[in-house]
């Protein structure tokens, strides 16, 4: 029982540290992409910037709009943060370093991380603001329609490792990583695109579209509630990067360094790619996004599924 407690506290500490680090890293990466420096004055190279942001957001007055739907509005940030944190339970950090090796690991993570769409929709509806309502509805449509290609691309990996447990998926890649198979590569591509939409980032950030809907679903949130959405978004980003390393890049397998280092470096490499994509691409329109999900990604995922099945039965 004590072990579980220690593991829980360790994971929680890791989550908050990684969220802080990701926020700082995103600002520095975006700054250098735009040929500028990013935070410099707050600690060495702005290292203390996320802490300053957190302290300031803590001190902010928490405004609740008068006609807001009180309970829904108050609960929304929790629904945005709790699912990604719960999804950490099944992430394989190392050979034995996994909080709980569920035998339905991947199914559990997918089920949990689709709960946060309810949080976004509650935020959209609760703050009684037309922009948030539009943002909330957009996010509901987008995440639901990108869930299907994401799960289909995961099934191709599960079929290879013929087990849902994350550790077994990683062990199945001990000789060579999944990405080397051609159909796995296709699944990895479909997964990456769908995962970007799952987390409302980059070309698919229509729920909190800066230039159209002022600040999307979190227009009315200030102070710590807004910070929760912020942390939820970055933890979610870490989750989809961790899943992509476990499924496609061989989890914690690696020649010399200890497994944890391998796992974290691969995850942060994936996160770097997502950040890079975010600061280069314009935003897709709502209907183009939906058409792309249903008419392009889902058929490719089905075809890929069929090819994997045929390959395995051969």
């Amino acid at each position: 029982m004590l072990m579980m407690l220690i593991a829980g506290i360790a994971v929680l500490a890791f989550i908050s540290a990684s969220a802080m680090f990701l926020i700082w890293w995103e600002r520095k990466v975006s700054a250098h992409i735009q040929s500028r420096f990013g935070p410099m004055r707050v600690g060495w190279h702005g290292v203390l910037q996320p802490i300053a942001d957190a302290v300031k957001l803590l001190l902010k007055e928490d405004i609740r709009p008068a006609e807001a739907d009180k309970l829904v509005w108050w609960l929304a940030p929790f629904f945005a943060v709790v699912p990604p944190v719960m999804a950490f339970a099944a992430i394989p950090f190392g050979k034995s370093l996994i909080p709980k090796d569920l035998n339905v690991g991947i199914l559990y993570i997918m089920a949990i991380s689709s709960v946060c769409v309810i949080g976004i929709f509650m935020a959209g509806w609760g703050s009684n603001n037309k922009y948030s309502l539009l943002g909330g509805m957009r996010s509901a449509a987008q995440i639901v329609s990108y869930e299907i290609p994401m799960i289909l691309s995961m099934i191709t990996v599960v079929m290879h490792a013929n087990s849902l447990s994350m550790q077994k998926i990683v062990e199945a890649q001990s000789r060579h990583w999944n990405i080397l198979h051609p159909n796995m590569l296709l699944a990895a591509l479909v997964y990456t695109i769908a995962a970007t939409a799952e987390v409302n980032r980059a070309p698919f950030d229509i729920p909190e579209a800066e230039s159209e809907l002022v600040a999307g679903f979190h227009t009315e949130y200030s102070g710590m509630k807004f910070a929760m959405f912020f942390i939820g978004e970055y933890t979610n980003l870490f989750i989809i990067a961790a899943i992509s390393t476990t499924l496609f890049f061989g989890g914690w397998h690696g020649p010399f360094l200890p497994p944890v280092v391998w796992f974290l470096s691969k995850t942060y490499l994936c996160i770097f790619i997502w950040m890079w994509v975010r600061w280069t691409f314009p935003r897709a329109r709502v209907d183009q996004l939906m058409a792309f999900a249903w008419k392009v990604l889902t058929p490719i995922a089905f075809v890929n599924l069929a090819i994997t099945g045929w390959l395995l039965l051969k």
Partner: protein, 373 residues
């Protein structure tokens, strides 16, 4: 749910106010949209949030005192406004200016046209969602032009450089090397934008065939500048009613095919290349002489009326000046291009989505200082 209940279930339209403070309304413009879900049924524009009553103010300023105010009209292309106003007053006084002053004016106006188009392209990409990266690249190029202007007349944005009868200072010594270096640098950058942004699939999907402005509708709304040329009308005042030394310089007019947002962006990108060509030729043919003004600052033109229009980066800027013999204009009407360009917006937007109105507004490149005067 029996049938009687289903009858009154209908989607209501709701009114959304892209109010004066909105990240992509290019200043303080308020758009009132009647939305049916994401579809825009009707859009009315409310302007006047930056109405600084320039025309009332002009009636109590002498002709020279009003020059700094023209900087604040289209505050992104101040040189072109200065030139438009000052040429109008020179026509009123039928004053001849030295050749060197004409060439300097052309160089300054074309450099400012490049700076204005860079902002137009940067904010257009930002409105399409490429957050800040293209905008900051365009601003990095624009800072180079600002350095040149800083050296010529000492100010970054509102230059107040042109005078009635010439310009304030002569060009400083090492400026033409700096301009040549900038021209070479800018040519490589414009090719970068072509490679990076113009043929990006999401960029094309978002701006191709959005906001189609047919040719006759554009002329009917007296739209002017790159928006008119993007609709296929080959009309540019620098070519059709040449002023200063434009007839001596050789450049061509980029024209779009079907007048959608992508064409307007593409025309502006091409115009940067043409302006670079103009500056290069004007710099080569710069005559000697003294461009500064020798006559006094108080002008008392004889009572008469003139109307003169020049090619601004955003369109045709016209000045209708009526003088009554005193040192103060009796009436000064400013015909601003963004005012008519914006009038087209409600017509282009019906039936499109919110993301499209932001795209069309960005491609029209309006500026509120000039619209509201």
């Amino acid at each position: 749910m029996n049938t009687s209940q289903t009858k009154d279930i209908c989607t209501e339209e709701f009114l959304i106010n892209m109010g004066p403070q909105h990240p992509s309304t290019h200043g303080v413009l308020s758009l009132e949209l009647k939305l049916d879900g994401e579809m825009i049924r009707d859009c009315t524009a409310h302007i006047g949030y930056l109405h600084r009553s320039m025309e009332k103010l002009a009636e109590n300023r002498t002709y020279t005192q009003f020059i700094p105010y023209t900087d604040r009209l289209d505050y992104v292309a101040s040189m072109n406004n200065n030139m438009g106003y000052v040429m109008a007053v020179e026509k009123l006084l039928n004053l001849e200016i030295s050749d060197r002053a004409k060439y300097i004016r052309v160089i300054a106006a074309e450099l400012n046209r490049i700076a204005s188009h860079l902002i137009a392209i940067g904010t257009f990409a930002q409105d399409l969602g490429a957050f800040a990266t293209p905008l900051f690249y365009c601003f990095r190029e624009r800072e180079k032009i600002i350095d040149i202007f800083d050296q010529i007349c000492g100010n970054r944005l509102t230059y107040n450089y042109m005078r009635i009868g010439g310009v304030q200072f002569d060009l400083p010594k090492g400026i033409d090397e700096k301009i040549k270096k900038f021209i070479k640098y800018m040519r490589s950058k414009v090719d970068d934008y072509d490679w990076l942004l113009t043929y990006n699939t999401i960029f094309l999907a978002r701006s191709k065939h959005i906001g189609l402005l047919p040719k006759d509708l554009a002329i009917n709304y007296s739209v002017s500048g790159p928006n008119l040329r993007a609709s296929g009308v080959k009309w540019d005042l620098r070519k059709d009613e040449p002023y200063l030394v434009y007839e001596k310089l050789e450049f061509d007019i980029p024209v779009g095919e079907n007048g959608d947002s992508w064409d307007r962006y593409k025309v502006r990108l091409e115009e940067i290349r043409q302006s670079l060509k103009i500056v290069e030729q004007a710099l080569g043919a710069l005559p000697e002489g003294d461009p500064t003004v020798k006559i006094g600052r108080i002008h008392k033109p004889s009572p008469s009326e003139i109307y003169l229009r020049t090619e601004n980066p955003r369109g045709e800027l016209g000045f209708f000046i009526i003088s009554d013999g005193s040192a103060y204009p009796y009436r000064l009407k400013i015909r601003s291009p963004s005012f008519s360009n914006l009038a087209v917006l409600p017509e282009l937007v019906k039936g499109l989505k919110i993301a499209d109105i932001v795209c069309i507004l960005g491609s029209l490149d309006i500026l509120m200082g000039e619209t509201d005067r």
